[in-house]
Each structure stands twice: as C-alpha cells, then as structure tokens.
C-alpha cells in the first residue's frame, strides 16, 4: 500500500496485522481562516478501522484539521482549503461532493456535549428521521441499538422520554455518540470528547471506542497523553512553532512507537511534558 503513496506521506512504522488500508488520505493540506494560514503542508493517511489520535499543544490546529475531514469548516465564513483530502479515494472537496452527505458518513463529537433540547429518544431518532426512516418499530430498534453501542442504554432505557439535557454531562456525551451512531457513519471524529466529563463516563467512552473499531474508523483529539496511548493505534503530533505562523505535522507513527521511541526531539519533549 505504502509504495503507492507520494513520498511526502509519512507512513506508520511496521504495518500492524490489522492494517485495513487508508480511509482518509491527506496530501499537502493548507488551511486558512481568512488571511491566517492555520495549518500548512499536512500529509497523513488515516487507517481504516483503527483509532488515530491527534495530539499537540493548544491552538496548534487539531480541531481545525478535524473539521477539514468532514468539511465542517465550510460553515465558518472566509475559510479556505488547499491541497487534497480523499475519503475512500474520492476527493472530499471535489465538485460533485455534497457536504451534507459527507457529514452523514463522517460523524463528529464535540468537546462540549450538545444534546438537542428534546427527549433522549428524539435525540437519537433525529438523524435516522432526517434520512427517511419513518417506521416506529424501525426507529425503536435503531435507538436501542445505538444507545447500547454508546454504552449508555442501561442508564437511560427507562427514561427515554425525558429531556436529553437532564442527563449528567458524561451521559449527555454518550447520548451524543449514540445520536451519531444512529446514522451509521463510517468515520467518527471526536474532538476532545472526554475533557468535560466524569471519569466513569470517560472509561465507558474509551471502552466503546475499542468496540466500535471493527466497524468504524475513529479519529480522536485529546490533550491527555495517557488517553492517547491507551486508546489509539496511530498518533499524529501537531505543533505551531511560532505564534502567528501555521502549524504543521511533526510526527506520525504507530502509537506504540511514537510514545516509546519518538523520532523527533520536539515530540519527545511534548509527550514527556516538557512543554504544551
């Protein structure tokens, strides 16, 4: 696989047994907020059915990069992308691509749990309904299945008609995961999903990520090195070296290698807590 990639693509070390190929391929990506070049020359491939972690100091563009993958940045006026991103070898920014379809395939979880102000059931049923599921029995099944996969079914199965906002923060976050799973995404982008919630919920989310992996490709942004090491198969380290200058990708490797034998001095400094 790797010999087909352009030479500037950093491929992980020895290909693990579970390498299912590339889900996303990013080539020479530059990103702009108006005149501000936030990211430059990012080339990376994201492995199918694996968990990839993005780490790096605050403000180095991890969220920005994540939002490039499902074109969520399109919603921010004045932004611009250069370079190329492919999903299953199709150009994400190609002219025939409807970002609305793309976002159904590439779901997203945010740092702040964001349930809709409606019942738990309706939160999960919202996506399937959008995409044309009408039958009550079918919706019931999707809601139950999704809440189970999101590790929150036991806690909410008796209160499905209660408002989603009445749950605890951690439960809300898992509800939001269920809501995304209900539309059967191929990729799940998680932007610091655990930084605003309780430890029990963090545990449950880490567990569910491991379980989802065989059906879904997961990308997670985290500030927690231990979490990155625990949950991910691959890790990418981003860094903005000078304020006002664009951030770039310093190192990308299998998590085991990156955390034990980082190739770059800056990676080592970061993961050992010397800055950031």
């Amino acid at each position: 696989m790797s010999d087909k990639l352009p030479s500037h693509v950093v491929t992980p070390g020895a290909g693990p047994a579970y390498d299912h190929g590339d889900k996303f391929k990013v080539e020479k990506l530059d990103f702009f907020y108006g005149g501000f070049n936030a990211l430059t020359d990012i080339s990376v491939s994201i492995k199918r059915h694996a968990v990839t972690a993005f780490i790096g100091p605050s403000g180095c563009g991890k969220s920005t990069f994540l939002r490039c993958l499902n074109r969520m940045n399109d919603l921010i006026p004045g932004t611009r992308v250069e370079g190329r991103i492919t999903l299953d070898d199709h150009d994400v920014y190609g002219s025939g691509v409807d970002p609305v379809d793309l976002r159904r395939r590439v779901g997203m979880i945010f740092q702040q749990p964001n349930p809709f102000p409606m019942s738990i059931y309706d939160n999960v049923a919202y996506g399937p309904k959008l995409h044309g599921v009408r039958k009550k029995s079918e919706l019931d099944a999707i809601v139950e299945e999704s809440l189970k996969r999101a590790n929150v079914w036991k806690e909410v199965k008796d209160i499905l008609s209660r408002g989603g906002l009445t749950l605890s923060g951690g439960q809300q976050q898992r509800l939001c995961i269920a809501r995304v799973l209900a539309v059967e995404p191929e990729v799940l982008l998680m932007d610091e999903p655990c930084s605003a919630i309780d430890p029990t919920s963090v545990q449950k989310i880490e567990d569910l990520m491991a379980e989802l992996k065989d059906r879904i490709t997961i990308v997670i942004v985290t500030h927690n090195m231990q979490q990155a090491a625990r949950v991910s198969d691959y890790t990418a380290f981003f860094l903005q070296e000078v304020a006002g200058e664009p951030a770039h990708l310093v190192e990308y490797d299998r998590t085991a290698s990156l955390f034990t034998t980082p190739k770059d001095r800056r990676t080592e400094d970061y993961i050992t807590g010397r800055f950031g």
Binding site: M72, V100, L102, R103, F110, F116, G127, L130, L165
Partner: protein, 282 residues
C-alpha cells in the same frame, strides 16, 4: 498618601452605590405608585357586571364588555398577521442573509420603524388602509397598522433568540448530515422558541395598550366587532374618552385597572416562559 487614596476610593464607591440604589428604588417606586394608584381607584369598579355587560347612557355607565372584545380581537388578529412574517424575516436575517451592508441597512430600517411615534403610525394606517385600500374604520385596518408597530419589535427579539442558540447545537445537527433548512426548522427554531414566545407576548402586551394607532384606524364605535371589517372601540380608547371630559372617572379607572392587569399578566407569562426555559436548558 496611600490611605487618603484608599479613602477617596471608598468614598467614590459609597457615592456610586447610593446613586445606583436610589435609581433602582425610583424605578420600583414608579411602578409601585402607578400600580397602587390604579388599583386603589379602580378596584371598586371591578365586578362581573363591569366586565361582562355593555355600557349604556350618555356617561357610558355600566360595563365595558364590547371594548374588551375589540381589544382582544384586534390584538389577536394583529399578532396572527405579524408573527409569521416577523419570524420568517428574522430567520432570513439571522441565518440566510449574507451579513453585510444590506442586512445592516434592513436592521437600521427596522429599528427606525420601531421608533416612529405611534400617532404617526395611526395617521399612516388611516391613509393607507382605511382610505387608500378602502377598508374603512375596521379591526383589520387597525390590525395591519399595529403590525407595522410590532413587526420590528418581534423581528428584533426573534433574531436575538435565534442568534442565542449555541453554535455547537447547530453543528451537532449538521454533523448528522442535516441540511441548513432541516437544522433551522427542527433544531434552531424549537431551541429558540421560548425566547421567541416571550418576545411575541411582550409585543402583544404593547399592542393591547396602544391607543393612537387604533383610534385612527378602527374608530370609537361601541359595537363589539364580529367581522374583521367592523369598526370598534378598544379599552385604551374607551378609557381615554371617559377620562377626557371627566364624564365617568370611576369607569376610566376600572378600565385602566383591567388593562394594566391584562398587560401585567402577559408580562408575567413571558417571564415565566423565559424562566422555565432557562431551567430546562440550564
């Protein structure tokens, strides 16, 4: 030196606090005085027969029922006309319009419209609807003229309500593959609904108390309007006519108290909805 400075600071602080405190008291006292004054003078009048029977005689003795009917009628009709237009306009301004010169011009126009004296709006209603469109003095003409007064108010509050919906909630919807319209209609508007309702109710309270606009557009006839093309006399107009020449001061105070209670009831409802919403979305 330092201690004098500190004393100065403390003195300034005390003066500022006193002034703020007095201003607050004055505001509450003004409201209290009005309420007590109207209440004391009007409470003796308020009986079922005052509310539910018709006035009679040259001094308009008896009840005020047809004026209550006319007030509720014109307010309701005006809200019915204004609310959908105002909400759609606000959705357009907040969600769809490219933010720039045009939108800020529209916003400026709306704000200016809101500050047109209501007597001028009454004259405009008279020229445009009563005479121009041949509606004659009617509930419909008054409702339309009131709409011009209410439209900017509701547009403004609705726009603010829509903008107050956190972007993360919208992104949650877009992230599930929802289109813009699906997101706006199923997530943003329902989330903003309590605040929108609050704005609409406050506007309705404003419409109920409006005198200048309705006197020119639906007249002063005591008839209890049924068709939207009937003329009619609203409570504020009735109150004004009774008080004008002092022909029936007790009746005027009774009407005033009922009107104040109605508007106050509206405001309290709006407040309650706002509160409940804050608790739910906390």
């Amino acid at each position: 030196m330092q201690s004098r400075e500190r004393m100065n600071k403390r003195a300034t602080n005390a003066v500022a606090l006193t002034v703020i405190w007095m201003a607050a008291i004055a505001t509450v006292a003004a409201l209290g005085t009005i309420l007590v004054y109207v209440f004391v003078n009007g409470i003796g009048q308020i009986t079922p027969s005052f509310i539910f029977t018709w006035p009679h005689g040259v001094n308009m003795e008896g009840g005020i029922w047809p004026t209550i009917q006319a007030t509720v009628y014109v307010t309701g009709l005006s809200m019915l006309i204004t609310t959908p237009i105002a909400v759609l306009a606000a959705v357009y301004l907040a969600e769809y319009a490219v933010q720039g010169r045009l939108v800020s011009t529209i916003r400026f126009a709306a704000d200016s419209l809101a500050s047109v004296p209501s007597i001028v709006m009454g004259l405009f209603g008279l020229a445009a609807f009563v005479e121009g469109m041949g509606m004659r003095l009617s509930v419909l003409a008054a409702a339309l003229a009131l709409s011009f007064l209410l439209l900017p108010i509701i547009v403004r509050t609705t726009e603010e309500a829509i903008r107050a919906v956190p972007k993360y909630i919208r992104w949650g919807s877009y992230g599930l593959g929802a289109s813009k319209w699906q997101t706006v209609s199923r997530i943003v508007l329902p989330s903003a609904m309590p605040r929108i309702t609050t704005g609409v109710i406050l506007a309705a309270g404003r419409a109920m108390g409006e005198t200048a606009v309705v006197i020119y557009t639906m007249g002063t006839m005591i008839n209890g309007p049924v068709s939207p093309l009937d003329p009619g006399r609203t409570m504020p107009v009735h109150l004004m006519l009774m008080a004008q020449e002092g022909i029936n001061m007790p009746g005027a105070y009774g009407t005033a108290l009922l009107l104040v209670l109605l508007v106050l009831g509206f405001n309290l409802t709006a407040r309650y909805i706002g509160r409940r919403n804050r608790r739910m979305q906390g």
